[in-house]
């Protein structure tokens, strides 16, 4: 099966989400990548190490801003030129709009929120958790091109050490595609790793009791070398920035370790973090739903447990 994988890049590096999808595609068949925007040629070759045989690039001015519609034109053109069986995306604010626009443009099937892709015989099957992840649905496509959006962080990039041919391709734009323009861009000041790429996340919820108590999470995160996340409830209350929000309306994360402090585990939060490797929850309410899907649950006062945990982790770090 022939795959085309949409790869995003930021600050000269290919994003992990797309590379994870590319690694999966390469394990299932022949994988090509597409990189659009400034520096595309420079970063494209890096996709070879994750299994791309060819990476198509365009540095057209229309891709300078992270807007979806010119990218729909580009992918539609590339699908026409290379006839892939499937076009795959790692979900992001940008990729979701590109995938959906492409599905409409090509009258093609889009399956989204997939956590895995497998081949059953010759047919591609997507794995999609549904209804708050209480059901796992196998989804398919009636024909090519099959379009798929993979849940952020569901697939890890795997280095296979290959190299890719980088090829330019021509794009023409629809009259409406370049009407939206970027007028301003502000980058979030983030100290430490951004939450989607963090190996460890310490997240706080309403159980912290006050915005000041977020310092407990920050100190533990710093001791563990991780980032701080927040729930929708505390972001809405103005305790912590929106950009750290984990959940259905925030970021979807899957760190190796997720420490949930004072988080009840509402479904809105769960869908954003349940892909984490190990989940540790500290909550004083023994009936909190988070205890149903964490690996280690501690029923107790986080104001006692978290500072002590920080101290112990720091002490261990000091030992080594």
């Amino acid at each position: 099966m022939k795959f085309l994988v949409f790869l995003e890049h930021y600050h000269g590096e290919l994003e992990k989400g797309g590379l994870g999808v590319l690694s999966k595609a390469a394990s299932l068949g022949e994988a090509a990548g597409v990189v659009l925007g400034p520096e595309a040629r420079e970063v494209a070759g890096g996709a070879g190490a994750y299994g791309a045989s060819t990476v198509y690039v365009s540095e057209d001015e229309a891709f300078a801003s992270p807007l979806p519609q010119p990218r729909v034109d580009a992918l539609a053109a590339l699908v026409g030129q290379t006839s892939p069986d499937a076009v795959l995306f790692g979900a992001s604010v940008l990729a979701s709009d590109v995938a959906a626009g492409l599905a409409a443009r090509l009258e093609a099937g889009l399956n989204w929120d997939l956590t895995d892709l497998v081949l059953e015989g010759d047919e591609l099957v997507g794995k999609r958790p549904a209804l708050g992840d209480t059901v796992l649905v196998d989804v398919g496509w009636t024909g090519a091109p099959r379009i798929a959006l993979v849940r952020a962080g569901a697939l890890d990039p795997v280095e296979s050490g290959g190299s890719a041919t980088v090829e330019d391709f021509e794009v023409g734009f629809s009259d409406f595609s370049t009407l939206a323009t970027l007028v301003e861009q502000t980058q979030e000041e983030s100290s430490g790793p951004s939450i989607e790429d963090a190996d460890v996340i310490v997240a706080g919820g309403r159980g912290l009791g006050s915005p000041e108590a977020f310092s407990l999470c920050e100190q533990l995160a710093s001791a563990l070398g991780g980032a701080v996340g927040a729930t929708r409830a505390v972001v809405d209350a103005g305790w912590y920035p929106y950009s750290t929000q984990v959940g259905q309306t925030g970021k979807t994360v899957s760190p190796r370790l997720y420490v949930a402090c004072g988080i009840s585990g509402a479904i809105q939060h769960k869908v954003g973090m349940q892909g984490s490797g190990t989940i540790v929850a500290i909550n004083k309410d023994p009936n909190a739903p988070i205890f149903d899907f964490c690996d280690l649950g501690v029923v107790g006062d986080l104001h006692q447990v978290v500072p002590k945990l920080t101290e112990l982790v720091r002490a261990r770090r000091g030992d080594h």
Partner: protein, 258 residues
Amino acid sequence: MRIAVCVKHVPDATVHKRIDPTSKRLDRSGEGALNPTDLNAVEEALRIKEAHGGEVVLVSLGPAKSMDSLRKALAMGADRALLVADDAVAGSDLVATTAPLARALERESPDLVLFGQASSDGDGAVLWAAVADRLRRPLVSQVASLTVETDSITGKRQTEHGYDVIRAPLPAVVAVSDAINEPRYPSLKGIMGAKSKPQETLDLAAIGIDVGLVGEAGSKTTVLELGPPPSRGDQVKIEDDGSGAEKIVEYLLERRLI
């Protein structure tokens, strides 16, 4: 300014949702309500109307009983409702859903099409981009604050790396996030008045969409099988007796996480 707000009737959040094992579709037989995040789009439309004048039209695709839910948005202040209801639509995927929805929107020729964040039944934040492509209009999605001028809109949205401010000329398609506003509650007067506002229900033939374009026939994706999700494995739950922190450290060390 004519503003069309795409809204959807979804199964009630308090009712346990299930997928019918035979049809492999979400069981929609129970009570329903307007998708909660659609209310943010309705609210934003009403604010734009209050500032610029014009008309707010609700556009929806769904079973005939959806009109009950649409009435809630009429009670908030929307002017009228257009519902495309046809048995053939059941089971439609993204392309099959957006074909009749885009056609219904074209019929209204709005200056601005608004969407809420995502529907609570399908989880997909994909509808607006597909509709924008079908309508051949510029798109700004996940907008957390919106400024509307006579011939353009400017939206600020959160991305993975910060905030982007994007401008698009009208007519345009905008999807708002639920951080954009706090939807108003309908007033008693609004509730009383909603019943007499124009409510039009059309079938596919009336909007000129062939039944072959919708439902399973028009869908390009399929549901193959339903199964239980993978289990997380063994869980450990302890009471903190003063040694909770030590136990967490032991647990993390065993798994080489620190």
